[in-house]
Symmetry: D2
Subunit: 460 residues, 4 copies
């Protein structure tokens, strides 16, 4: 189905350091950007606690969303120039009538993301994908009102692209597949803003070799190495940026802090002072209900959280106050790797932490980067068409990991590690006062090869 | 005077996209970075409302401060390698005993900056330079405690570099002069994060031609063009980034919003609902007193402000609620240039704005970019040694604007413009309902050459 | 007139570090690139002797020509997307029928350039513009044969774009005007390969604000600063790269060397050994005749010259042998600035050079960078439409220097200097042996302010 | 042994686009750069025929050699700052007395390289490593004369670094090991000038984690991923740049051309015209003798070869003339992959080529990129200390491929392919005239899966 779009009288451009400029050509795109729900993304960091490790990484989901839109726009241009359909897409080529739904879906794919999503979702059982759908389809939102101007069914179509049920899989795969506009933008962007050079693959070249086919999007075989390089870049970014122990440690503190706040919010009578959860109130005291709580959810942002923490620094619960301070002043826990074999030893370490006077429920954690919300290329994925397919000159297809040893190596492998987090003070016996001896014991336990982890595994 | 510094056992590096890495070699620098006052700079944008125009510009005073430190460190290295004194600096060459005070001053030069400084200072009469001095010299701060470890007088010495009274003017000019580490870092950094390419001068070359002399720092004449280019870069950044009408418009809204909040905070009884100023309370209701209010000041950050605004969206004062929404959802005022001649016409425009139902006190403003807190090179500056001096091969000096026509051109000139700000609705008669006619009248008044401003001057 | 172009079945791309990729879409463009005349440009440096100052600057007229084509292609795309004519260009908008002639002219605009053009033309009275016309229009060349496939008149049309007589001035100005594809490519390219950062203006932005109008090409006023920055970049590149004293000094040696070779070629009988001018023969012994000598001209390239010089190192004419060695081994002359006032003193300096035993005809020179073949923006240019015009929103035009003080400053000014070149040995009395005293006298004459030039003016 | 170096009064800098600037601090380095043998490297491309595929790759061995020197200089600085020996290197730390020998060796490591080395050495049995040694140690060269100023044994010491026998393996490994200054510079440089982004690893980070130890140079384990990325970059550069079929095809033509010229030079009487081999004469007619022919060797450069080819275009040997034209006008042979299994079929293909009238000796070739002169990391290398060793925090070592799966994958693998080269005309039956049928047969033979190579393997 084709939508009548109102073109802007004059193309507008937004300056973007990653793509140089974002080109806005349709009134509806401009209007979506100007909605309150979309503007809210300016106040949500793209990488959560990562800026506490890489100080440049202050970029937001707002600029990322613009970047995804821009890549989608460029893919559509390339498809329309080189692979235009003659029969409404029956020939497996590109039907430009789908352009607008693709561009809107690209722009809005992260609209449901909230503050520190990974931790927040884990603690409060929100789900950013559900919320994205809700924002697009609920009549109350500005986003929905803008989309409805294209027709009553348009919001559902955009939403269906994001949940992958849209009939034209070319559109779906532009937004969600192993080499989609989302991943390509975030690698380039995270690389640019962190200053890590590892995410800097060759976008121009990948766009050149991308092509539509009957089952979605594939890549010309001649582009194999460009894609290989993109996969390696992604792998390096996981290892060096996304799984960085310090960022994970700050997430651990954040999670404990929110859990403690929930406990207090549910038992405020136990404290001599009024507890002020601010805009977090509904999330701390009740089970999240997407229909009822969407408005409250949309009021949250990173500043709301840190403002609450700032107030809690002096609250008369020592754990809440201390964890708030650690988060705001960036005092990460230390961490050590553990393995399946050494895992049983953690119980003793927790006891020592307790013995020094830190409640191990709030002052230790284990964390497994395998569970991080970043997907390494996985050929066993249940969406087979989300794999990367290469097209030979004769039209036959080959799955990427069949053609590339490097990709195969990365694919068959776990990336990341398991870590045990604990207060730095456990390594500063002189700071532990009366408990110096226990701390010393803890430290030797950690550092001794035969007991827990060796050498490089320790991280500040 | 020389300070015994504790070197880190192992150099630490912080990844930075502008300088590639920041090198930390002294324990005291690490400790200063870890103070609560310094970490707070992570929550204060370097460019205030500019990210509302350039979405990449989310960088903070934290990374800028690290960058200034890094440039100071590199200058000291260069001076010590090429111009080491033989007699404690009597020969006009570099005395490396001053390195640590220089590095600390570079790191801390912005420590007193608060949220949206320019507007905030204007409305609440705070002064970031005074506060910087206070943070460094007050015994209560963590920064002061770290500095005192070097000796009881060390904090004062660092503070005196920042207020320019430190005896060694080479150190002073590293931090504050026309071509200092502060300006060099912010041009490169603002250029990098906005994506505007104009601030991208040749730092390596400038560091090569920089040299100490008896009155401070000068530049080898052979570096003339590199410095010329730096000055032109700065000029372009003012025109294209710092004075951008949209950012200024958002500052206008912020100022009106804070003024309105103050009025309400001082008359809360007039509202049916409790007004919640949050951490802004002391600033809204009392005159700022630096001794008494430093702690409160240090609790503020950009998130605190936007969190308050978020709460105010639904407060039963329509002006406060509307301005809060405009700020959070980025609904800038429109603006038109005016001149001394057309200025008298503004009164009538304000009447028309009032007539449509917008209180012109809160919905219009004039703003003069000449007053912006950015200094264009000014040879009439009362600190003559803050000018840029070039040294010929024979040791004689020539002031930069005497040697460069380009600089002279820029120097003798006002940069920027005067603008009148008003709601966009005044240009959308169809949205003005009953007042459509008044809006039409307003629009024609603005757009007609003979009355107010011509052509290009209008900005969304 | 419209040409039927054969599109390539599949777009071809050539990797280019400046534009990322060059996109080839037409068979004729591919065929032109594959001609012998065009491939020859691979063996001619873009910047002549500049690589002797900036070692990275080894780039050739081949890649520059591809770059100019690519920028023309992008301009045509932008024009066709945003300003397509409705009536064959009568409305002042873009007629895409002219695209192919524009692209060919962009590709071929430098096809007549020869080895070290500036010096070569000066000595041998060749003219690269005439030769460009000849290559395009002579039936003997492969270029002409390719062009003729489009129609018998096509070569003339392409040639007429280059000599500026093509009716559609939009096409002409794409290739030759103050802000054309030629200048834009060479600034970016020379900046990239020298490593000088000064030529790095914002091409994307300039292409956005460029637009066709009835008299050619102008720029939207909102792009003023981008163009200002481009002009300043060009100015800086003249000062820092194109007019560099060392490169000019090497050109002086080259000119003297070719002159000496001509003298010898015309009097070979005076030497005990056969003089081998190689492929330079016809140029040394006869007046260049474009009709007769085109084939010989096309055999020359930079390698042919240096190969001849290599052979001449041992020829029994001491001046030829020495100058050949100086050129190949990069032994530049030293130079000092002079002014109109000090110019009369040069005669005495030449006498001293002679006195030390260097023939001042071949071992000194004066050179005036004002005469360099690079044009600084000049509003008095007799082609008024080659100026840069800015278009206001209401369609009125303003000439750039009227709108920009920076440009005005640069425009009204001579750029560059006058230099006197002489052997380095004149500054090494110890190397002058018997003539040490004369050398000392020379040196003091040069270095003494009151006599000839002061301070910074001296260059190795 | 320590050498007294004369420091330059003032550091000199050479602009370099890869490292920003090259810093020259010693008179001897300046003097070496100014020798005739070193300046000659300006006339030898770093990448031979690669610029015929990537037009930007015109960079020379001159700038590469400067780059290697600069990296060595930075490594020495880093070692001296962080790992200075206390006992002449007995402690496995860095002895800065070795700095000068390291810097000279870095600068001169490629001084023996000639024009199109790979092909030239293959055809004429020269050996650039032997020649490097000869240039450094023969009393006749300017390089040797400069080196001897440091002491009579200094040239031998520099030479011994290059042939890996210098006692301090730290110095040796700076110049020749799996991650040395040579490889690091060429990857960055080749990446920069080709525009391929694949060689762009993180030099700063690698220099940070590099450290001296008793057996040479190793890397801190924490730098694992930076090194992994460097290895993958190198792998990608091999695949995408160094082994590019078009460049190899042009090398094939060059080799056949030189072979043909040798045949003619040895039988000049068979031709009606005098054959002019120019400076190639001694190489064509006699076995190369390094003692006798060094002077002649040093006269060769890329321009000398192309100048000869230019003259040969019209020589009355059709094969020589045609191959010369193909090389100068860049008319590569086409190529197809073959395998061990399909190899026997090549004989028939050669017969078809002969049948069409191309002498298959000069118009076909097989080429195996495994034999290319680029080394992929190989742990079975007989120089075990040339492997990359990682140092854990406790001082223990682990070989890189043991710690990195990616490296292991690359290591255990052949990179590259085997290709059969033949004239493009074999695929243009219409151009084959009478032999159209044979050409058609050839083409079907190549393109049919079951006979020779499939799909993607064909390259223009």
């Amino acid at each position: 189905m084709s939508y009548q779009t109102e073109k802007l009288k004059q193309e507008k451009v937004i300056r973007d350091p990653v793509h140089s400029h974002i080109y806005i050509q349709d009134q509806i795109i401009m209007d979506l950007i100007n909605t309150t729900e979309f503007q809210r993304l300016r106040r949500i960091h793209q990488l959560g606690t990562t800026s506490l490790t890489f100080p440049g990484a202050e970029h937001t989901r707002f600029s990322h969303s613009l970047g995804v839109y821009e890549i989608v726009r460029r893919i559509c241009n390339h498809f329309q120039r080189n692979y235009p359909t003659q029969n409404g897409g029956q020939d497996g080529l590109w039907d430009d009538h789908d352009r607008l739904v693709a561009e809107c879906a690209g722009l809005l794919h992260d609209i449901g993301h909230g503050t520190y999503s990974h931790t927040f979702e884990h603690i409060f059982h929100t789900n950013h994908e559900e919320i994205t759908q809700a924002i697009i389809t609920s009549k109350e939102t500005e986003v929905n009102q803008v989309l409805r101007q294209m027709g009553p069914n348009f919001p559902n179509q955009v939403a269906s692209v994001i949940n992958k049920t849209y009939p034209n899989q070319q559109v779906v795969q532009m937004i969600s597949s192993q080499c989609d506009a989302d991943r390509m933008d975030y690698l380039l962007r995270d690389s640019y803003f962190t200053g890590a050079q590892y995410g800097n693959f060759d976008l121009d070249r990948i766009l050149q070799v991308m092509r539509p086919y009957e089952h979605g999007i594939c890549f010309k075989k001649s582009g194999l190495h460009a894609i290989e390089y993109y996969i390696v870049s992604r792998y390096q970014m996981y290892l060096q940026v996304y799984f960085h122990p310090t960022s994970r440690s700050m997430e651990v503190i954040l999670a404990h802090l929110l859990n403690r706040a929930r406990l207090i919010a549910q038992h405020p009578e136990q404290y001599p002072e009024e507890f002020q959860p601010g805009l977090l109130q509904p999330f701390l005291t009740e089970q999240f209900d997407i229909t009822r709580d969407l408005t409250q959810y949309l009021q949250l942002d990173d500043g709301v959280l840190t403002t609450s923490f700032s107030g809690w620094r002096t609250f008369p619960d020592p754990i809440l106050a201390d964890l708030s301070t650690r988060f705001l002043d960036r005092k990460p826990f230390k961490s050590a790797q553990f393995t399946e074999e050494t895992k049983p030893l953690l119980a003793h370490l927790r006891q020592l932490v307790d013995a020094v006077g830190f409640d191990s429920t709030y002052y230790t954690a284990t964390d497994n980067s395998y569970n991080q919300p970043y997907d390494v290329y996985d050929p066993t994925d249940q969406h087979p068409n989300a794999q990367i397919e290469l097209m030979e000159k004769d039209g036959s297809l080959i799955e990427l990991s069949q053609a590339s040893l490097l990709v195969q190596t990365i694919t068959g492998r776990d990336v990341g590690d398991s870590r045990f987090f604990f207060p730095k003070e456990m390594f500063q016996p002189e700071a532990a006062g009366l408990f110096a001896e226990t701390a010393t014991q803890f430290q030797s336990y950690i550092q001794n090869d035969h007991i827990i982890q060796p050498k490089e595994s320790l991280h500040d």
